[in-house]
């Protein structure tokens, strides 16, 4: 049996629009990586989330993580790029 863990995910800007919420708790396997969370979010929220994630940042416990192999922490912030002035 796979041991699950809870990840607190916070969505910002276009990622919040794509998810229809600002935060939620997602259960993933204990050994889940950034790539695993990415796949889970795409499965849940489809194309709009794909666009938000393509050039956005995952902040794992406050550090930008671009490597899909990186293990997850307790909290992940999903942050699309900012623009406009």
């Amino acid at each position: 049996m796979t041991v699950a863990r809870s990840i607190e995910v916070r969505y910002f800007a276009a990622a919040a629009d794509a998810a229809g919420r600002e935060e939620e708790t997602i259960a993933l396997p204990a050994a889940a990586t950034v790539g695993g969370l990415r796949a889970a979010l795409l499965e849940r929220y489809g194309a709009p989330m794909e666009r938000a994630l393509r050039t956005g940042s995952f902040l794992v416990d406050g550090v930008v993580s671009r490597d899909d192999a990186r293990p997850l922490g307790d909290r992940v912030d999903v942050l699309p790029p900012f623009a406009g002035g």
Partner: protein
């Protein structure tokens, strides 16, 4: 006449707990470089000038347009067509005749940026351009000064302080520029979002310059006007983020790869020739409906990966977008997918309209 920190105009700041006459004196001696006299600049600049900052330099290469006026309140209808930097200078002179004010009607670009911040205590990026954001970030890091940055688009905005010497800069939040970023030209913006974010930027600037309070270092503040709510993202140093190595790296002129680009006049000649290239527009559908090049095929950049097989890999193709950022990204995709004769239009449809087809509406 230099700014006098004892001037009655600043009485309420001198009386402010945690601020006082010493902080006022620091403002009077401060030199701030502000990039952008648009929506955010219209909020941040008057606040800094009226607060008694000793010297302010404004960089902006744009001119005032009617569609700017709802949010760019430094400018008035009579200023339409004037350089924004000059119009801003007039407004700031009325507010703060004793502040040393300099307007640069020029782009904050690699060649000039390093000298521009030589004597500056603080850099403020109130521009709407991702390329400028990363340049400002890297220049501030190399020069060892803080950067106050802000963004406003749609109903939302963000603000923060990049301060390499204090442990984090903009690359710790977003390691590299996003060439597909929307601009408020295509998305629209609620004017008061510029006011909220610009005022928050001014607060950060005043705190950093005077050493008061706790600046937004390692925290980005996000504001959403739809709910009226704010949220905060805490972030730390990303050890893998790309960093600028030296001053030389920063000022090296990047030579565009001629094999990848087509100039507007060159494209006109190609289209009039015997073997005109296919035109591929990678903008959003609403931009395409507003204006496009005759005969162009629309495949928005977001859809290109899934629709790339609709295109002939051996055919001559010219990709274009609004300014040449998204088309560059599209070309990267196509090159990786095996396209051999594709190029993109330098400066996008905007430069095409200016140089080749003035009848085409611009936005």
């Amino acid at each position: 006449m230099p700014v006098d920190a004892a001037d009655p105009r600043f009485a309420r700041q001198r009386a402010l707990a945690g601020f006082g006459p010493e902080a006022q004196q620091r403002l009077a001696e401060a030199r701030v470089v502000v990039i952008g006299a648009g929506g955010l600049g219209s909020a941040v600049l008057p606040l800094l000038a009226a607060a008694g900052v000793g010297a302010i330099e404004v960089w902006d290469d744009d001119t005032v347009e009617a569609s700017n006026l709802h949010r760019q309140t430094l400018h008035s209808p009579a200023d339409v067509g004037r350089p924004k930097a000059e119009s801003a200078l007039d407004a700031l002179t009325r507010l703060a005749p004793d502040t040393e004010l300099v307007a640069h009607v020029a782009r904050f670009a690699p060649k000039v940026a390093l000298d521009a911040v030589l004597d500056a205590d603080l850099l403020v990026d109130a521009s709407d351009d991702p390329t400028t954001r990363y340049l400002a970030n890297d220049i501030a890091a190399v020069r060892g000064i803080p950067l106050v940055w802000g963004n406003a688009i749609g109903w939302a905005g963000q603000v923060g302080v990049a301060w390499d010497a204090r442990g984090v800069d903009y690359r710790d939040l977003f390691p590299e520029p996003d060439p597909a970023a929307d601009s408020c030209e295509t998305q629209g913006v609620l004017p008061s979002v510029c006011g909220v974010i610009g005022a928050a930027m001014a607060s950060e600037a005043l705190k950093v310059l005077t050493g008061s309070g706790e600046p937004l270092v390692g925290r980005a503040l996000l504001y959403d006007a739809r709910t009226g709510g704010t949220r905060e993202v805490a972030y730390r140093r990303d050890p893998d983020a790309p960093r600028v190595g030296s001053v030389d790296d920063l000022t090296a002129e990047k030579e565009p790869d001629r094999s990848r680009i087509v100039e507007p006049a060159e494209l006109r000649a190609l289209l009039d020739g015997d073997a005109p290239p296919m035109l591929l527009d990678v903008r959003h559908p609403h931009e395409f409906s507003f204006a496009h090049l005759e005969g162009a095929t629309l495949i928005p950049l977001d859809d290109l990966p899934s629709r790339i097989d609709e295109l002939d890999r051996e055919a001559p193709i010219v990709v274009y977008c609004h300014h040449g950022m998204r088309s560059g990204r599209a070309l990267d995709l196509m090159t990786r997918a095996g396209f051999t004769r594709a190029k993109h239009l330098n400066g996008g449809i905007d430069r095409w309209a200016r140089e080749v087809d003035p009848a085409l509406p611009r936005y």
